[in-house]
């Protein structure tokens, strides 16, 4: 597949002069789709780049949208933050039609971003990127003690977990009691 299109912003402006041979080469013009995240910022992405996402690929493969229809119906991913979706779109564009390298060093180093990216990538079913992200998490866990892991990755201890569960149950119990009381009140 021709890769003259580099996604939304980095596409080279085409010169409308005498058509060079290479411009005539792509027989099927590349189709584009539109996605947006929580921030509603719409990203234009080529079908080639979107192939990385099994979820989106499955959604678009039988749609047969025209350019206008695609533009009018961007895929909403309300569960993904705008900056995270931007990262995903950038990665898909960079790796469009290319074999993915064994390592990817451009992943976010901050754990908050990395975790949100992992969740987004898992949801969008981008297998290679998920592997890179998980490798990165594995690297961040390496050499740490259980206490350090608990602290860094905000994991409650079993005791805290149990206390929270008890509290939740208590609350649920109270609410239920409230409801029954209310129901009893209604009955009166």
């Amino acid at each position: 597949m021709s890769s003259t299109e580099q996604g939304t912003s980095s596409a080279a402006p085409a010169e409308p002069t005498t058509a060079p041979e290479s411009a005539a080469a792509p027989e099927v013009p590349e189709s584009f789709y539109y996605v947006h995240g929580k921030d509603k910022v719409v990203h234009k992405v080529s079908a080639g780049a979107l192939q990385h996402s099994a979820l989106i690929h499955g959604m678009i493969s039988n749609l047969g949208y025209t350019e206008e229809q695609a533009k009018a119906n961007p895929f909403p991913f309300e569960n993904i933050d705008g900056d995270i979706l931007q990262m995903v779109v950038d990665w898909c564009n960079q790796h469009k039609g290319k074999p993915t390298p064994p390592e990817d060093t451009n992943l976010p180093k901050q754990k908050e971003k990395l975790f949100d990216l992992v969740l987004a990538v898992n949801y969008l079913e981008i297998k290679e990127l998920l592997t890179y992200c998980c490798k990165q998490v594995a690297m961040m866990v390496k050499g740490k003690s259980p206490e350090e892991i608990r602290e860094i990755w905000m994991i409650p201890t079993d005791a805290e977990d149990e206390a929270a569960e008890k509290e939740a149950k208590k609350r649920a119990g109270k609410e239920a009691a409230g409801e029954t009381a209310a129901a009893a009140g209604d009955a009166k």
């Binding site: 754990k111 898992n122 490798k135 594995a138 608990r150």
Partner: protein, 340 residues
């Protein structure tokens, strides 16, 4: 922000698969959810531990010592755990954990079981050493071998190791371990016992014994025939007595073998069939003194013109060694290969 504990199962599975095995052991300790998740995972989804050698032995006053290591300079690691029955604790270099009322032998066996879950490549060596004769009669360490056997049974798969070393003070314990070793991987068996005489009639019938390449036994092997050892490329074993006929059987087997290296067959009772050997093989080169004579014969090999079997018969042992034809002393006769 999302927490690691909120990751979907597929993501956690991926993280575990891509972690090193020490990290997975640490993740198990982070919280009960992780522990259950990791323990419920199919072994194939766990990373390879890359351990080369595991040893478990009874050590000092009611201690069990578990060591696993890889001495490859690129991967080097060595971890040692001491389980103390008296202190009811497990210690590493860095810390000691008191285990209150838990049975310490169970803890050691469970730890080994956990480590074995991560074993994907073959171990170079598995060394099990149970010298419990100095322990008090009621010590729980006496149950170690039986508990290991029960754990191996539960594993539902054999342990892949090239070398198996077992040191026991009770002959019955060898068979608690040997059947659980993968016979296709096992090359080398080393058995030691402080009991002088060990009945090996059940051991020699195992697939593990029959398929191994080398064997060494540091005791008098009871109920052993030369037919039980002729397939080894190297053996060091001592039996009670050996006859000229049996030595001739070994001579035939070794000269027709293509991978024999060297061996030693000891005998407790003095060998007194030298005349029969000379009748079978012709005159020997005799050296040493009359009290302890050394008789040497040379035999051509079936598959090599350059190699020769040197067979030395002494009062209490016979040695078999493959040497180069040019190393045969001048004047010595090399008997031609003869399969009869």
């Amino acid at each position: 922000m999302s927490s690691l504990s909120e990751m979907p199962e597929l993501v956690l599975e991926n993280i575990i698969r891509l972690s090193d095995f020490r990290s997975v052991l640490t993740l198990r300790q982070v919280c009960r959810d992780f522990l259950n998740f990791i323990d419920d995972l199919n072994d194939s989804k766990l990373p390879d531990s890359k351990i080369e050698e595991i040893s478990i032995n009874t050590d000092g006053p009611e201690n069990i010592c578990l060591v696993y290591e890889n001495l490859d300079p690129d991967l080097f690691f060595r971890h040692e755990f001491i389980y103390s029955v008296r202190k009811n604790s497990r210690s590493t270099y860095l810390k000691t954990t008191h285990l209150e009322n838990t049975n310490i032998v169970d803890v050691a066996v469970r730890d080994l079981e956990l480590i074995l879950k991560f074993q994907k490549c073959n171990l170079e060596r598995l060394c099990l050493s149970f010298f419990t004769f100095r322990l008090p009669n009621n010590s729980s360490v006496h149950t170690l071998a039986i508990k290991l056997c029960d754990m191996f049974k539960e594993l539902n798969r054999t342990i892949k190791t090239k070398n198996l070393t077992i040191q026991m003070d009770d002959q019955s314990k060898f068979m608690l371990i040997i059947p659980f070793i993968d016979s296709d991987t096992l090359e080398d068996i080393y058995l030691r016992s402080i009991v002088k005489k060990v009945n090996i009639n059940r051991i020699v019938k195992t697939e593990q014994w029959k398929k191994a390449d080398k064997v060494q036994c540091d005791f008098f092997a009871l109920n052993m025939n030369v037919e039980d050892i002729f397939h080894f490329s190297q053996f060091t074993i001592t039996t009670f007595s050996i006859s000229a006929k049996e030595l001739d059987f070994l001579r035939k087997a070794i000269t027709s073998s293509s991978n024999f290296y060297s061996s030693r067959l000891g005998n407790e009772f003095i060998f007194n069939e030298s005349k029969e050997l000379s009748n079978l093989w012709g005159p020997a080169i005799v050296s040493g003194n009359s009290y302890s004579p050394k008789r040497t014969w040379y035999f051509g090999m079936k598959n090599s013109k350059e190699k020769v079997l040197e067979l030395i018969s002494k009062n209490f042992c016979s040695r078999f060694e493959i040497i180069k034809l040019e190393d045969v002393p001048n004047g010595a006769i090399v008997n031609e290969y003869n399969e009869n």
